[in-house]
């Protein structure tokens, strides 16, 4: 149990996928201009992470036992295939949602966090439950980072900031400070 708490804390805040591992920076900067969009994509990511964790565990256990070196390509094929399928399905079933999320969907595919999760969980040797907790932590951490970032960005939108800084540089400065603040979580629950 302590172990699971630590896994969760580790994935969500101590080693936040975005702020400590730099995974999924593109969506992190791409969709955090409004809080609601950030939250929606965060939740979408959370679900994708959980599914990925499950698929990765199943792949590892039943398919890749014979050829563990195919891990990377199998993971990515599964992720890309699933996302593309979901994209098509949403486009058909809910054009409104597609229009709102359309540009973001492929971002999930190339979101390093998803592939990173699969790779990390496998290299850490996590089982099914640990993997799911890890995915949950990572998803919560991503959502948290994105929502906080969106909140901060909605705020700086109104600040008199020089044109030179506006845009990407500014986002990086803010992300840097946020990452600095997240360092406070280091070692949380490590005592066990």
């Amino acid at each position: 149990m302590d172990d699971l708490v630590w896994i969760f804390a580790n994935a969500s805040v101590i080693n936040n996928f975005t702020l400590a591992y730099f995974l999924g920076l593109c969506p992190f900067f791409g969709v955090t201009n409004r809080i609601d969009t950030a939250f929606r994509l965060g939740v979408a990511n959370l679900f994708t992470l959980l599914i990925t964790s499950l698929s990765a565990t199943l792949l590892d256990r039943y398919v890749l036992v014979h050829a563990p070196y195919l891990q990377l390509i199998s993971y990515i094929v599964v992720i890309a295939g699933t996302v593309q399928f979901v994209e098509m399905a949403i486009k058909k079933l809910s054009p409104a949602l597609f229009r709102a999320l359309g540009i973001d969907l492929p971002l999930i595919t190339t979101n390093g966090a998803i592939l990173g999760l699969a790779l990390f969980q496998s290299s850490k040797g996590y089982g099914l439950v640990q993997g799911l907790v890890y995915a949950l932590g990572a998803g919560v951490g991503l959502t948290l980072a994105m929502v906080i970032m969106a909140g901060l960005r909605e705020e700086i939108e109104f600040a008199p900031i020089s044109k030179l800084l506006r845009g990407v540089a500014l986002n990086f400065f803010v992300a840097g400070m946020l990452s600095l603040a997240f360092m406070g979580f280091a070692g949380l629950f490590a005592k066990g």
Partner: protein, 329 residues
């Protein structure tokens, strides 16, 4: 019959104004820092004065260098001086002065100017400076020299040349929180209250901080809800954990480390805390919970700085969820 003035002036209502201004608020806080600086000088000697002066001077210089040169920019409101002094007071006494200067420059440039200057910073600038130093120089930032080594005593580390560390090791003493975390030793309450313990310059003397905080609160310089919520949360949460043996006593939690200093001078920074009354309570609650979590279950002995920075980051969200309900709505 008197002649009417040639041109009347058109201004918007109201045509009267409360006797209050932003510069005045800033200078009141600066004034409130004086007793804290005095206490720091009493315990840590001339080093304290040197460090505060360095911090304030470099902060002001940085602000001047980056703002428009006409009319001194936002220098006049005193906020840069305040940031520099606050930063210095959160640092360990034996820190090299060049690190203080670096921290002050980072605090103003990164913490404030990048985001548009006064009123637009997202994080408490002084704490951004401190967090930068903490991450950059983890060992030096956790090396405390013992108090009461004589007024004119200056550690060789303090005057180390820029970019270098001291030639001789500092005679270090553990902070009360370090003692309890790593050696399971608690410190007596009396020295904690007076301030005769190892720690950062401004944070050691509980009694001075409480008095200053109460005065500032009564003068309505800051929103009293913020420190009250923070401290109350720490007392309640650590009290519950204490009953289960998972935390030192609430009294120790309150009087040790940077909690009181943070509650009085950092949690009350208006810019980086929620504007709403409800938001202020949430903010204090968040800081309190995080402080107790980090101190008792985290890797660091002290977590006030990170707790406040994290809640600073959450402030736009808190503002959003705590919008007041309009009258009758």
């Amino acid at each position: 019959m008197n002649p009417a003035p040639a041109h009347l002036e058109l201004t918007t209502a109201p045509h009267v104004h409360a006797p209050i201004s932003t510069p005045r608020v800033m200078y009141e806080v600066v004034a409130a820092l004086l007793p804290v600086i005095a206490a720091a000088a009493y315990f840590f000697g001339v080093t304290a004065i040197l460090m505060v002066a360095t911090g304030a001077a470099v902060a002001a210089l940085t602000e001047w260098a980056f703002s428009d040169r006409q009319g001194l920019g936002t220098l006049r409101d005193g906020s840069a001086l305040l940031t520099g002094a606050l930063l210095a007071l959160t640092l360990p006494p034996a820190l090299p002065l060049w690190m203080v200067a670096l921290g002050a420059a980072v605090a103003i440039a990164l913490g404030k100017l990048v985001l548009g200057g006064l009123g637009h910073n997202l994080f408490n600038p002084a704490l951004v400076g401190r967090a930068f130093l903490q991450a950059a120089f983890p060992t030096t930032m956790t090396t405390w020299s013992a108090p009461g080594q004589g007024f004119w005593h200056i550690e060789s580390a303090t005057v180390a040349p820029p970019m270098l560390h001291a030639a001789v090791d500092v005679v270090s003493a553990a902070s009360p929180l370090g003692l309890v975390k790593f050696e399971q030793k608690t410190t007596e309450l009396l020295p904690l209250v007076t301030g005769n313990v190892a720690g950062s310059l401004g944070e050691t003397s509980a009694v001075v901080l409480v008095v200053v905080g109460v005065v500032l609160g009564l003068r309505k310089v800051f929103d009293w809800r913020l420190p009250v919520a923070t401290l109350a949360t720490v007392v309640v949460f650590s009290g519950v954990l204490w009953l289960f043996g998972l935390s030192p006593s609430p009294a120790f939690m309150l009087s040790s480390g940077g909690l009181l200093f943070g509650a009085v001078f950092m949690c009350t920074d208006p810019v980086t805390t929620p504007v709403t009354a409800k938001g202020a309570w949430y903010f204090g609650l968040g800081v309190g919970v995080l402080v107790v979590l980090i101190r008792n279950f985290g890797g660091l002995p002290e977590g006030v700085m990170y707790s406040i920075l994290l809640m600073n980051a959450a402030t736009p969200l808190l503002n959003r969820v705590s919008q007041p309900r309009r009258l009758g709505g």
